[in-house]
């Protein structure tokens, strides 16, 4: 019993002789890969952000009805897209984890959650600041804003549940269930809130539809959306790496990584 580790492949990937496509799903392959890819995504995100900001502030014209306030949508809309998209990706990884029993999938979904919650918060914050000059109030119970708020609660629930359960395997699987239940409910919540909103004569102006969308505006939004994609990938990969180390610490390859890290200091 020289080492307390079972076959490295078995730790996260129960079928060591799986198809070669899954080779990177083995954590000891994924860990260095993530480390190599993340900086590239980060650089891409930074460059795209600069281009997007330039488009947003210097190319896109002033909106005829709203004036310059509308420039908030260049971050509001991509943030709202990302927050919803990330939740779906989380649910996807959760389903993969439950079906294939690959632990890396659970780690991925947990690494995505804080970034999703961050985008959700950004969408709410910018929505509120956009609403004050436009609707005259920081918060109106608009269907989009309200479902965004509920999505933020779903993120909080997921994060709180996975953190509260001490046994990692139980935490992984419990989180996966709640992510899936949430994903099934997101459309239900959205449509119910929309229905409720139309009945209660809420705000009639919608943030995305309000400015007549000039092609430069759309361009800026798309560029910033791609920037958020790249940012999400970079930050998730960075977050996944220590999580992998933590969970795989009994294995020899993590020992080697740690020795290298320790020697560097």
């Amino acid at each position: 019993m020289a080492s307390g580790s079972i076959d490295q492949d078995n730790r996260m990937n129960p079928s060591p002789r799986g198809p070669s496509v899954l080779r990177f799903a083995a954590p000891q392959n994924f860990y260095p890969l993530a480390g190599r890819l993340a900086p590239w995504f980060a650089v891409t995100a930074a460059v795209l952000t600069l281009i997007g900001l330039w488009l947003a502030f210097f190319v896109a014209p002033v909106d005829a009805t709203q004036g310059n306030v509308y420039r908030v949508i260049f971050i509001h809309v991509p943030a709202a897209w990302m927050s919803m998209f990330i939740y779906l990706v989380m649910a996807f990884w959760s389903a993969v984890g439950l079906v294939m029993n690959t632990r890396l999938s659970f780690v991925m979904s947990q690494a995505l959650a804080p970034t999703g919650a961050m985008f959700c918060f950004v969408a709410l914050w910018t929505g509120a600041l956009w609403g004050r000059p436009t609707w005259g109030a920081y918060w109106v119970w608009d269907a989009r804003l309200t479902s965004q708020l509920l999505l933020l609660f779903l993120y909080f629930g997921f994060i709180a549940l996975t953190r509260a359960i001490e046994d990692p395997r139980r935490g992984d699987r419990a989180g996966a269930i709640i992510a899936l239940v949430g994903a099934v409910n997101v459309p239900v919540i959205y449509f119910s809130v929309k229905w409720w909103n139309t009945l209660h004569q809420g705000a009639s102006v919608s943030l995305t539809k309000a400015p007549s969308m000039a092609s430069t505006m759309l361009m800026g939004m798309l560029v910033l959306a791609f920037a958020s994609w790249a940012y999400t990938l970079a930050v998730t990969l960075w977050r996944v790496r220590p999580m992998i180390l933590e969970r795989e610490r009994h294995t020899e390859w993590v020992g080697a990584v740690l020795d290298r890290e320790g020697g560097r200091k």
Partner: protein, 222 residues
């Protein structure tokens, strides 16, 4: 095939009967929460009539939430849950029996006393049947969704608050259609669409929630 279902149902109802004080506490909570509102917003009848559907529904939802943690906690602590998971009958059946027993002992009493409280809030008498119907369709959905949350938070520290955080966002559609039905009836637009949507939601929850709940229980007892 259904012997496990009926055994669990009978036992849980018997337990609820022996511990009927707990059931009464839930009901008392529901009544007190509703009675607090006039003190908070003033006793103006028009105002009370306007907020009555929402108040009744939120109170019903909170009463359900308050008792949800009891659903599996005792069985988890004394090992009964393990034995149920080892049953040769599909887990979905007895999970459904537990949820049904839970609804009969917490949801049904709320449905029964709700019309009386509606009168306290000066709700139009014509809307009372719709109130009862919407609660009868909606509270089972709350129990079904809540059971998944209760199963996931079993034995977790701070489980009660966590349970609330997990499932309250999921309760929002039920609240919208439930309270909306009563309001629509009171304002004369007809509650049929709301009630149909609630019924559809109940069918969906009945089909999916027991499966998720059984999987969650397996995960939590592992």
């Amino acid at each position: 095939m259904l012997s496990t279902f009926f055994a669990v149902l009978r036992r849980d109802l018997l337990l609820a009967w022996r511990g009927r004080a707990d059931v009464m506490v839930t009901l008392a909570f529901f009544v007190i929460v509703v009675c607090l509102f006039p003190f908070g917003v003033g006793a103006e009848p028009n105002l009370l009539r306007a907020i009555a559907p929402g108040v009744l529904w939120v109170a019903a939802l909170l009463a359900c939430l308050l008792s949800l943690h009891r659903l599996f906690a005792q069985d988890y602590a004394d090992g009964t849950l393990e034995q149920l998971l080892l049953s040769s009958e599909p887990a979905v059946l007895w999970v459904l029996a537990k949820i049904l027993a839970f609804w009969l002992t917490t949801g049904l009493p709320v449905v029964v006393v709700a019309p009386g409280l509606g009168l306290l809030l000066d709700l139009e008498q014509g809307a009372l049947p719709v109130l009862v119907l919407s609660l009868a369709l909606g509270t089972p959905i709350l129990a079904l969704l809540g059971a998944v949350g209760a199963a996931l938070t079993l034995g977790v520290r701070g489980g009660g608050m966590l349970l609330a955080l997990l499932i309250l966002p999921l309760f929002v559609p039920v609240l919208i259609f439930g309270a909306g039905a009563v309001e629509a009836e009171a304002s004369g637009t007809g509650a049929l669409a709301h009630l149909l949507l609630l019924g559809g939601g109940l069918a969906g929850a009945l089909a999916l929630a027991p499966i998720a709940c059984a999987a969650s229980l397996r995960i939590s007892t592992e």
